[in-house]
């Protein structure tokens, strides 16, 4: 198990919280909460060691391609592939806009 913390530039604070995924085999849980304007902080706990550079590359691609709200993102990962990571994070951001989200 390994913990990784990363930070990325972002826009205005996210308006609320959102949740996506489960800590199941090949999957991950994403908890997204509002953060102060201008930055998104990601804290990852992953069952797979030694993948820090890949996480950084994958998250840079997901979080800097388009302007996104500023969020605190907690990721609990159980061996998800980069494609699944992308889908779960995008799902969480979509939940922010959807009616009747987690909160």
């Amino acid at each position: 198990m390994e913990r990784i913390n990363l930070e990325f530039p972002a826009g205005k604070p996210a308006r609320r919280s959102a949740l996506a995924g489960v800590v199941g085999s090949g999957d991950l849980e994403v908890l997204l909460e509002p953060n102060g304007a201008g930055s998104t902080a990601v804290s990852i706990t992953t069952s797979v060691d030694g993948m820090g550079r890949i996480w950084e590359a994958v998250l840079t691609r997901i979080l800097t391609a388009a302007p996104l709200p500023a969020a605190k993102i907690e990721i609990n990962d159980f061996g998800a592939t980069p494609g699944v990571v992308r889908m779960r994070i995008e799902q969480a951001f979509e939940e922010l806009d959807a009616a009747g989200g987690t909160r």
């Binding site: 198990m1 489960v22 800590v23 992953t46």
Partner: protein, 281 residues
């Protein structure tokens, strides 16, 4: 089966724990207690290098079913095999205890438990076992006032101490994908040998512990398709029926009498087991 009917049907098994709870509660009535953002995670897993889930794999959802106060306790089978540790177990036990307390104060809160669990979480050992014992007591307390409905949808099934919890429920609903057993197949194979019980032989395993077999053996009260609407309709109907005349667990003498008639020299076959229980119960 008719392909169109199958495509139109909304699966219950494919839903996660939170969505299953939402599917059973009246529209817009769901309110989650001790939700993921409160982060009551297992204090023991991280110490053993296991990644935690923010809700510890248990969803406590308050709301209404058929416009009556209800709580749905949903176990997430995808997280650690739905295993119950200190936190998740306490969430279920605590919610059931509060529902019983509601009833004593005149609020008719009823409960649904979605079993998707291999039983106790081995990493939390005795704390998980203690929590499961508390769940047992809480079910027995609450079922005096309101039905406690258990649902085993699949695909994890319901094993270990939680299979006893399923047996204590006022009513138990299963699907074809469900399995119910005190010991899981791998454990039986390990202890009794592959000749006795081949855990990889899926048709064999389901023929012994599967939902249909358990229903035909009178260990479950409803055998349903994997259809969220049908499951919801049955839950409502059972709550309307009210308390059963006899709880299954109160009929232990009848079950024991059936078991006394088993000839252990012969390997048990599914049809023989059905016949045994159907005759004696």
């Amino acid at each position: 089966m008719n392909t169109n009917a199958l495509l139109k049907r909304s699966s219950f098994i494919e839903l996660g724990a939170r969505e299953r709870a939402r599917a059973l509660l009246d529209a817009r009535s769901m309110r989650e207690l001790i939700g993921p953002f409160e982060r009551f995670v297992s204090p023991w897993l991280a110490q053993q290098n296991v990644v935690t889930q923010a809700d510890d794999g248990v969803v406590v959802a308050k709301g209404r079913i058929d416009d009556q106060p209800a709580v749905v306790l949903a176990i997430e089978g995808a997280y650690q095999g739905g295993s119950l540790g200190e936190v998740g177990g306490a969430k279920i036990a605590g919610a059931l205890e509060l529902a019983a307390e509601d009833n004593r104060r005149g609020v008719p809160t009823r409960a649904v438990i979605l079993f998707e669990t291999g039983g106790v979480r081995l990493q939390e050992a005795n704390l998980g076992l203690a929590a499961i014992a508390e769940i047992h007591s809480a079910i027995v307390d609450l079922r005096r006032y309101q039905p406690v409905i258990g649902i085993i949808a699949g695909t994890v099934g319901c094993f270990g101490g939680m299979s006893i919890a399923a047996g204590l429920c006022s009513y138990l609903i299963v699907t074809q994908e469900a399995r119910l057993g005190l010991n899981g197949p791998a454990v039986i194979e390990q202890e009794a040998g592959i000749d006795e019980y081949d855990s990889r032989d899926r048709p064999f395993i389901w023929s012994i512990t599967g939902g249909e077999q358990r229903y035909r053996s009178k260990l479950a009260d409803a055998y349903l398709d994997d259809d969220a609407e049908a499951i919801l309709a049955t839950v409502r109907e059972l709550f309307r029926t009210g308390l059963p005349a006899h709880n299954r667990s109160d009929r232990h003498a009848d079950f024991l009498a059936c078991l006394a008639g088993v000839d252990a020299r012969e390997q048990a076959r599914p049809d023989a087991v059905r016949a045994l229980y159907q005759k004696g119960l």
